[in-house]
Symmetry: none
Subunit: 222 residues, 4 copies
Amino acid sequence: MVDEDQEVEPLLNPTGREPKQGRSRASFERMLAAATDLLIERGNDDFALTDVAKRGKVSIGSIYCRFDSKDDLIQAVQRRVMERMADEEAEMIGRLTDKSTSLDVLVRNFVEELAEFLKRNAPVLRPMMLRASSDPVVRAMGRKGYDSLVEKVMSTLLSRRDEIGHELPELACEMTLRIAYSAFARYLGFGTVGDTGTKADWKNLKTEVGVMCSTYLRNGNR
Amino acid sequence: MVDEDQEVEPLLNPTGREPKQGRSRASFERMLAAATDLLIERGNDDFALTDVAKRGKVSIGSIYCRFDSKDDLIQAVQRRVMERMADEEAEMIGRLTDKSTSLDVLVRNFVEELAEFLKRNAPVLRPMMLRASSDPVVRAMGRKGYDSLVEKVMSTLLSRRDEIGHELPELACEMTLRIAYSAFARYLGFGTVGDTGTKADWKNLKTEVGVMCSTYLRNGNR
Amino acid sequence: MVDEDQEVEPLLNPTGREPKQGRSRASFERMLAAATDLLIERGNDDFALTDVAKRGKVSIGSIYCRFDSKDDLIQAVQRRVMERMADEEAEMIGRLTDKSTSLDVLVRNFVEELAEFLKRNAPVLRPMMLRASSDPVVRAMGRKGYDSLVEKVMSTLLSRRDEIGHELPELACEMTLRIAYSAFARYLGFGTVGDTGTKADWKNLKTEVGVMCSTYLRNGNR
Amino acid sequence: MVDEDQEVEPLLNPTGREPKQGRSRASFERMLAAATDLLIERGNDDFALTDVAKRGKVSIGSIYCRFDSKDDLIQAVQRRVMERMADEEAEMIGRLTDKSTSLDVLVRNFVEELAEFLKRNAPVLRPMMLRASSDPVVRAMGRKGYDSLVEKVMSTLLSRRDEIGHELPELACEMTLRIAYSAFARYLGFGTVGDTGTKADWKNLKTEVGVMCSTYLRNGNR
DNA sequence: TATGAATGAGTATTCATTCAT
DNA sequence: GATGAATGAATACTCATTCAT
């Protein structure tokens, strides 16, 4: 479960050979779009480069002009997705800071926002998570994304440190995010199976996770 | 995310043509064992029937004699795994009932037991979860297994209904299981990515989830 | 030019999974035959596995059933060729020993035999030599074959050691083979280019090489 | 093995559209240089035009501006190489004529010079020979070069015609070159395989070929 | 003239599944 | 029943060549 993927780090940057303008740019976009769509529609296993070519109205050669390999293309999709998500996260944090009058409100808002954020991005996240199981680069990038979210969320929650009853506020904040994230991710099918819940629908889930986290942070282990 | 897999139900039973005794029985066992091992060692993607044949010292023809397809074989593995897990669950529930002097103790014990239970079974569960993403039958069986766990856990927790502060005890119990399950599953890599957590190691995770669930059940949304 | 291919040795034996009888055997033969023919007709570069399949009336899968890779198939062809050649060599040595009444006669017979032997096998040898430039296993096997020829020829020539005027008989014998082999190989196009010679036709070449070698062995550097 | 490449003749001249001066000239040179280097480093099979472009800091389009095809480029490389070699040959002949006091000395010097000449040029010659196996134009040019060498060498050797014991001096001279050339070419790996020789190292080979040729020319078939 | 993005035919290889023995 | 040889669709990737800018 621990880190065996450290050495992957240096491979993380190369964004595909991204052209800056014109027709090239357009077809580059079509590739990424097609790849993203196909990943969403068909999932990881039935994702074939020929289909990307067809859908994106591009030749296979073109794809290999921009990307080193199938893996590289998928990583580019992931990169793009994660950039967009990072922006959304920033906005989310902004909204939270503005609206929060107390730890309780903050946490509940946070949970709600996180839930909707994940739900919004679920369609791409799902295949990406799957991909991560076989591609260490995807895994590493995913981890990195999660870590940066952790950082942002923690500093926000810790801004109300004195309202936190738990004796280890840092730990508690991290746990809060972790638990909420896990619960929503699982519901949304990132873990894939058991993406259900008899009665507990989405709304219930959000509420109760909110309650749980709020209570946890305020009361610690009382 | 909701049920679209209902129609799968009738396919759930056929356990492979399981022979009752003798040499047939033995080679049947070898198939399942080999398949299980291979699934664990190599994961879903590199799982080839020819390897199962080699490892199990069986011919491919034999495999197709017992199972309709690759999918069918994997489903049989899953079935077997789930039966064993159901037994473990029963024991677990037994232990919980015996040792629990209060809701608080019960919950903490439960969380600890669940964590270790999942950890123990992680190696098989991981590829199964992955498999579920492409095989609806596996998905359905996984769901069923989870639901039966829900049932058992709920009746146990609800045996201390009067100590539960939450105004909707059923919902609260279900949520408790769900949250704990999600958190551990994610840590153990069932969801695959982000199976990390900066500081929070396994021990911390178990403790804090325990705290959180206990507090939640006792206090509701206070 | 020196040995850098030693480590290849262990890979030399595996003859493809050669079936012993029946239909399997037949299609195995068809594969090898088709491969050999295609190699001869089209040369190394235009040798595609699909063509082998077509020509041999076999599926590609079948080929991969018997051989690990394209390289492996070609190596099997080479092995077979070399086995046949080793037999021919043995016969050749036999004939030489019988008919030779003097070093001079022996050498001339040897040169003639070698020339015709190489000419007979030129069609397969040509693509094999080419192949050797990119496949170390082929190179190693070729070398081995040559070395075993050297051995046989040397012991034959050295049976008339006292008629050899060269002060280093071993060296002289080895050189004799080497020079004759090189000259014929080049004429036959193993070295590929300039495989001709204005006036000097095959007959002339054989005679003169014979003269040269004979004189060389008898007179040394006088 | 006979001439089937006659019709190729007319294609031999077009030296690529060779610009006479300026920037064009410079990039033209870079192309040829890059192509030559790559041919030497990577051999025939891994020689890709895109790499030439990269290495020569030229666009692929530019290459196609100067050359009709990949084949054409390689032929241009060959042409250039052969021009340089023709010069070297001329010098070589010059040196031989100067220093030679007898047929024996002449022949030994010649063999030594030829050996080193081929060794010096082996790196380019090797891929060219390989190329010749699939490209008739390269084959024809190679042949032409060899023929012109034959001519020069013959007139040099025949300048000592009266010392030649062989009853057909022309034939003997041609054979001398042919045998020496073959032996060295094979050792240097032009024929690719069997580039071995147990004991016989380069020095031995040169000496013995010298002995052999000298004896042959002087004594004929005595 | 120069550029390099785009093309797409061509190829090795994998693996679930079938079926003659 | 049991065997494992045979099948062939599917797929990632390469590279000479073209052509719009």
